[in-house]
Amino acid sequence: MRAYLLRRAGISLLTLIIASIVVFLGVRAVPGSPATALTGNTNFSPAALAAINRAYGLDNPLPVQYVDWVGQVVTGHLGSSPVTGMPVTTELGNAFPITLELTVLSMVIALLLGIPTGILAAIRRGRSADYASNAAALFGLSIPSFWFGIMLILLLAVVLKWLPASGFVSFSVNPGQNLAHIIMPAFVLGTGVAAVLMRQTRSGMLETLRQDYVRTARAKGLSEWVVILKHSLRNSLVTVATVIGLQFGILLSGVAVTEEVFGLPGIGQLTINAVFQRDYPTIQAVALLTAVIVIVINLLMDFVYMVLSPKVRLAGEPG
C-alpha cells in the first residue's frame, strides 16, 4: 500500500508539473497579452503598457516568468490579476465555492434521478418502465444544457416567477435565496449527468443480475429488495463510481455555459473571462486547480473501488 501511495504521489506531481508547463506556454502562444486586452477601450501610452508588463513580470524571459510563478505557487501565492488587480487567490476563493455548491447539488440530483431509474430500467427490462427510462436518458443526453437552461428560465422565472432567473446569493447570507438561485442550474446539470448514470447503472445491473451469486441469493430466500440493493447494485457500482468520479471532476472544473446562462460567477465564468482578457495568472491558477481536482478525485475513486470491490481490496491496491 505504501509503495502504491508513493507511486501515485510521484505520478501526480509529474502530472501537475506537465500541466503547468503546458498551460503556461499555451496561454502565451495565443495572440495578445493582458496589456493588449486593456487597450480595448483605453488608449494606454506605450510607457503605461510597459509599466503594466513590468508590474506583473511579463517583460521577463519565459523561463524566468515560469520559475517566478512556480515559486509563488509553492509559497501559496498565485499572483495578482493584471486585469482586476485582485489577488488570484481572492478570485478563486470567491468563485470556487459557487462551483463546488453547484457541483455537489448537481451530483445529488444526478444520483437521486439516475441510479433509481437505472435500477428500475434493469429490473423492468423490456417493459414500459425500461422504455420510459431510456427515453428520459436520451433526452438528458441529447438536449443541450444551455437550451434546457433557457427554457427553464423562461418557464419558471419569466412566466411563473417561481424562481430568480440568474445570479447567486451565498448560503451564509440567505439559505432560501441561495437554494432558489442554484436549484435550476443544478437541475440542468444534474439531469445531464443522471442520464449517463442511468445508462451505466442499468448496464451494470443487467450484468450482475445474470450472475450465479444472485441466483444463489434468491435461492436462499432473500427478499428481492436485498438481492437487488445489497448483492446486485453494490457490485455494479464499481463502473458507476468511475462515471461519478469523471463527472464530478468535469463539473468541478467549471461548467462555463451553464454558469453563463444562469449568471453564476463560478470557476467556469472566471476561466472564460480570464481567457478573453489574457489574465495569465488566473488562467494558470484555474488550470492548476483543475489538475489538482482531477488527481484528488482519481485518488478518492481508487479508494471507493477498494470499499466496493472485495477483489480490489484483496489485491492490496486499486490497480
Binding site: T36, F44, I98, P265
Partner: protein
C-alpha cells in the same frame, strides 16, 4: 413485484424533504417590482442594474472599462459631467474653469461643503493628491490624457490651478470623465495601490463590497449632500434606495430574461440585444430609452500600419493601401441603412464621420449613397484584377458576424471578394495593432471631446491607430483643433477634418452608435446621459 410500493420509509421521507425544499425556494424567490404608475417613491430598497461585462479593478487611476465608468458615475463623481445636451457642466467644481495665460492656466473652484464617503472634506489639496496620482502612477490609464498638465497647485482650500505646457482644448471634457474623479486622500494614504479594494470618493453612493468579479454593491452615502452643494440633481441627487447593485450579465438573452423575471431592475447600456430592446419598446410595462452616443461603428482599413503601431508608419500589404480609389469603391459599395436595419434592427444612426450628431462640434456631413455603378468603375480604373480578395476581421458575436457578412455581400457586387474572419476580440486587437490585417470591423464607444474620437485613430504610436498615420489633410485640422478652445473654430476644423476622412477612407464610418436601456415603470428617477452613463442618484422604487 411492485418495486415502488416497497420504497423504504427513509427514502420516502427524503423525497418529501427535497420537494419541500424546492417549494420553499420557490416561495422565497425575488420580489418583482410593482407595476404601478404611482409617483410616490418608497424609501429604501435595492435596485439591481445589469451591465454587459464586469469592470476591471475599481481604481479610477487604472480602470479602463466602459462599465467601470457607469459604476463610478454613481460612487465617484468627477469635477465635471455631461448633461443631456452633451455640454460639460460643473459637478464637484463650482464653475467651468477660468482659462487664462493664453490657455496655459486653468483655475478651478470647488463646491463648498462636500465630503468624501469616509467623511474627509473635499478640498483643493485632495484634488492635487488625486490628480498627481493619476499623472504619476506607473500603471495609470489617465496619464496620457493628463500629460498636458505639467503641475497642479493649490491656491486656497477650495481653489486649485492646472498649469499646462501647451494649450489643450479637450482638457475640460477630460476632467468630466475618469481623469476628473477625485479620490479620498485618507483612503489613498491607507490603501495605496490597493485603493481598488475599498474605493472612496464623493458620490451619492458609497462602495460596500465586491463579492465576486461580476458584482459590485454600493450603499447610500452617509455624507453626500449634492443638492445642498448645488450639484445638478440629474448628476448627483439624493438616493431613495438604500442599495445599488451592478451585475455583469455577459449574455444578452440572459439580460432580457433577467429583466422580465425581475432579477434585475435596469438593463444597462450594452446589456440587451437590439431585437430584445425592440420588444421592450412594445411592452407597456417597461420604459425603453435610447440615446445617440459619442461612439461609432466602422471598418478600419490597413493603409499605413504595415509594421505595427509601435513602429514607424509603413504602407500595408493591402491593395486598398496602394489604391485610394479602391477604398472609395469599397465605401460606395456599402449601404449603411441596410447594414443598420438588418444587423442592428435599425437601432443606430447612419453617419459617415466620427463626431456624434449631439455634439456641439458636429456639422452634418452628407453620406454618399450606395453606388455600385460608380464603385465598379473605380475598381476597373484602378487596374487591379478582380475579384479583389480581402479578409475582413470581425469580433466574434452574432451581430458582428452578421454585419460582416452583409458588408461582404454588398461589396461583392463591386468586385471585392471579402472573406469574413470571426476572431476573438483580444486576438483581433493584437492582430490589428500588429498591422497583420486588411479590413477590421471595429467600433468605438466614444468620448465627449471630438479630439478623443479622432486623433488617436490616425496617429502612429497610438494603440487605437489600426489604419496607420493619417495624411496631413486630416492631421492638420485635428492638430489645430486640439490647440484652441474656441468652439466655433474647433467646429469648423472638425468639419474640415471629417470631410478629409470621408475622402481618405482609412476608416469607413458606418453609423453613430446608440446606447439603449430598459427598466420597468416601477423604477423612477433614473438619469441617462448621451455619454452612456446611468445616474442613479435620484432613483427610487415606486411605492405599491
Amino acid at each position: 413485484m411492485n418495486f415502488i410500493a416497497r420504497v423504504p420509509r427513509s427514502l420516502r421521507a427524503g423525497a418529501l424533504l427535497a420537494t419541500g425544499a424546492v417549494l420553499l425556494a420557490a416561495c422565497s424567490s425575488t420580489t418583482t417590482p410593482t407595476k404601478t404608475s404611482s409617483v410616490k417613491v418608497q424609501n429604501g430598497g435595492t435596485v439591481t442594474v445589469g451591465l454587459p461585462n464586469a469592470p476591471t479593478a475599481l481604481d479610477p487611476s487604472t480602470e479602463g472599462s466602459l462599465v467601470g465608468r457607469i459604476i463610478f458615475a454613481n460612487m465617484c463623481l468627477s469635477l465635471y459631467g455631461i448633461n443631456q445636451q452633451m455640454a460639460v457642466v460643473p459637478v464637484l467644481a463650482a464653475d467651468l474653469p477660468q482659462i487664462s495665460d493664453g490657455g496655459l492656466l486653468y483655475t478651478i473652484k470647488l463646491r463648498k461643503g462636500l465630503k468624501f464617503n469616509d467623511g474627509t472634506p473635499l478640498n483643493a489639496q485632495a484634488v492635487k493628491v488625486s490628480l498627481d496620482r493619476d499623472k504619476t502612477l506607473p500603471t495609470s490609464a489617465r496619464a496620457a490624457n493628463l500629460k498636458p498638465v505639467s503641475s497642479v497647485s493649490v491656491v486656497n482650500s477650495d481653489t486649485f490651478q492646472l498649469h499646462l505646457a501647451a494649450q489643450d482644448a479637450p482638457l475640460t471634457s477630460i476632467l468630466a470623465a475618469r481623469s476628473g474623479i477625485i479620490m479620498s486622500p485618507t483612503a489613498l494614504a491607507r490603501e495605496g495601490t490597493n485603493f481598488y479594494e475599498d474605493p472612496v470618493c464623493v458620490g451619492p453612493f458609497a462602495f460596500k463590497s465586491r463579492p465576486s468579479l461580476d458584482e459590485v454593491i454600493l450603499t447610500k452615502s452617509k455624507y453626500f449632500n449634492g443638492n445642498a452643494a448645488g450639484i445638478p440633481t440629474a448628476l448627483g441627487g439624493a438616493p431613495h434606495i438604500q442599495t445599488l447593485i451592478f451585475d455583469a450579465i455577459t449574455d444578452p438573452s440572459t439580460c432580457y430574461s433577467d429583466l422580465l423575471a425581475g432579477s434585475i431592475n435596469v438593463a444597462g447600456p450594452g446589456c440587451l440585444a437590439p431585437n430584445d430592446y425592440k420588444l421592450l419598446t412594445e411592452n407597456s410595462s417597461y420604459k425603453a430609452q435610447q440615446l445617440t452616443s459619442n461612439g461609432y461603428e466602422g471598418i478600419d482599413i490597413n493603409v499605413t500600419n504595415g509594421n505595427g503601431w509601435t513602429k514607424p508608419a509603413a504602407t500595408a500589404n493591402n491593395p486598398l493601401a496602394t489604391h485610394p480609389t479602391l477604398r472609395e469603391a469599397l465605401a460606395l459599395s456599402l449601404d449603411r441603412q441596410t447594414i443598420n436595419t438588418v444587423a442592428y434592427d435599425g437601432s443606430n444612426v447612419v453617419g459617415c464621420g466620427p463626431i456624434s450628431p449631439l455634439s456641439p462640434y458636429y456639422t452634418k456631413l452628407p453620406c454618399p449613397a450606395q453606388n455600385i455603378t460608380e464603385a465598379k468603375k473605380l475598381v476597373q480604373e484602378s487596374g487591379v484584377p478582380t475579384p479583389i480578395n480581402l479578409t475582413l476581421i470581425v469580433p466574434t458575436g452574432t451581430v458582428n458576424v452578421e454585419q460582416g457578412e452583409i458588408e461582404a455581400t454588398e461589396a461583392k457586387a463591386a468586385g471585392f471578394n471579402i472573406t469574413v474572419q470571426p476572431t476573438e476580440f483580444t486576438t483581433a486587437l493584437a492582430t490589428a495593432q500588429a498591422g497583420n490585417y486588411q479590413l477590421f470591423d471595429i467600433g468605438w464607444s466614444g468620448r465627449v471631446d471630438p479630439d478623443q474620437n479622432t486623433s488617436p485613430f490616425y496617429t502612429q504610436g497610438s494603440a487605437f491607430d489600426y489604419t496607420g498615420q493619417g495624411p496631413s489633410s486630416i492631421m492638420g485640422p485635428l492638430t489645430q483643433a486640439h490647440g484652441t478652445t474656441n468652439v466655433s473654430s474647433r467646429k469648423a476644423l472638425y468639419f474640415r477634418a471629417s470631410k478629409a476622412m470621408l475622402q481618405y477612407n482609412g476608416i469607413i464610418y458606418l453609423f453613430h452608435l446608440t446606447n439603449q436601456i430598459a427598466y420597468p415603470k416601477s423604477v423612477v428617477g433614473l438619469g441617462f446621459t448621451p455619454d452612456g452613463l446611468l445616474h442613479m442618484g435620484s432613483v427610487g422604487l415606486a411605492a405599491s
